[in-house]
């Protein structure tokens, strides 16, 4: 049993309309000290077996993230 977290964020050069919208809303609510917001995805996976780094790489890079526009990072939380 293992728990793995994969974070996927848009590459910095790609426009992030959702992050922008949150930033705008924050400004309207008076939180002007927040200067940047980016919105990405978080996947929590549970595995039966011990996680194998190569497999996780493949899953993240081919399915969970679109590497044309997104970066990802993999974290094994418990195994």
């Amino acid at each position: 049993m293992a728990r793995v977290v994969v974070d996927v964020m848009l590459k910095p050069e790609i426009l992030d309309p959702q992050g922008q919208a949150v930033l705008g809303a924050l400004a309207r609510l008076g939180h002007s000290d927040i200067t940047s917001v980016r919105q990405g995805k978080r996947f929590e996976l549970e595995l039966d077996a011990a996680p194998d780094a190569a497999t996780l790489e493949e899953v993240a890079s081919t399915l969970l993230a679109n590497t044309v526009i997104e970066d990802y990072s993999i974290r094994v939380e418990e195994s």
Partner: protein
């Protein structure tokens, strides 16, 4: 013998029947292709229709790309088979790396359904030869994730090679970089766009007949070939 154009149905495809109707209106035979069958039934061209394949839950088109039928579509497209990706089909083509770039959430963060003016920038692709370069056409647009993005180098390359096929006119509905509505591969046989030509093929149900040209273009090329 009339041309045979395949229309793929994924679970969650919505505009497959409409695409098939457009194919028939343009004078070809529509052949349904099932996502689970790795068989193109010998068709002369393929349409990947609009919809929400697999619910579009992960990223639009991300899961459909792995469907058994897609491996054959990808191979055949690399071999020159004309392939048109409409909306979700465009997203599938980008996810499959048959076309560069990606489609992200509309900058207005809402689903947008409206009649959209486009300019035809490239009338030399398999799917646009019946249009004139610079022609303005009106066809429906309907999507939530239609913002075309790519890095600058890719965008410059697309522009430089004349591979931007359609651009949004008047106002950009979704934040697409450089107003790009549709693009093609180097060879011009694979075209993807967000708006829906198959919804502009009948006076009664569409805003114009401007969509027919997609299907007539490919048919006349197939007949000539």
């Amino acid at each position: 013998m009339s041309a045979r154009i395949g229309v793929v149905t994924f679970p969650g495809s919505l505009d497959d029947q409409d695409a098939a109707r457009a194919v028939r209106i343009a004078g070809a035979e529509a052949v349904s292709l099932w996502h689970g069958d790795a068989d193109l039934k010998g068709v002369d061209a393929v349409v990947l229709p609009g919809g929400f394949s697999y619910g579009d839950y992960l990223r639009c088109g991300a899961i459909a790309r792995f469907a058994p039928v897609m491996q054959n579509v990808i191979d055949a497209a690399r071999g020159g088979l004309p392939v048109l990706g409409i909306c979700n089909g465009f997203q599938v083509l980008c996810e499959s790396h048959l076309l560069p770039g990606a489609l992200i959430r509309n900058d207005v963060r809402k689903f947008v359904c409206r009649d959209q003016w486009l300019r035809v920038e490239n009338a030399n692709t398999a799917w646009t030869s019946d249009y004139a370069e610079g022609q303005e056409i009106l066809i429906p647009l309907k999507n939530g994730e239609g913002g075309f993005v790519a890095d600058d180098r890719t965008l410059d390359e697309l522009e430089g090679e004349g591979r931007v096929v359609f651009r949004y006119l008047h106002d950009n509905p979704n934040g697409s970089y450089r107003d790009i509505a549709g693009i093609t591969n180097e060879r011009g046989n694979v075209v993807g766009l967000m708006p829906h030509p198959e919804h502009a093929v009948e006076r009664l149900t569409g805003p114009s007949l401007d969509g027919v040209g997609f299907f007539s273009s490919v048919i006349s090329q197939l007949v000539d070939a």
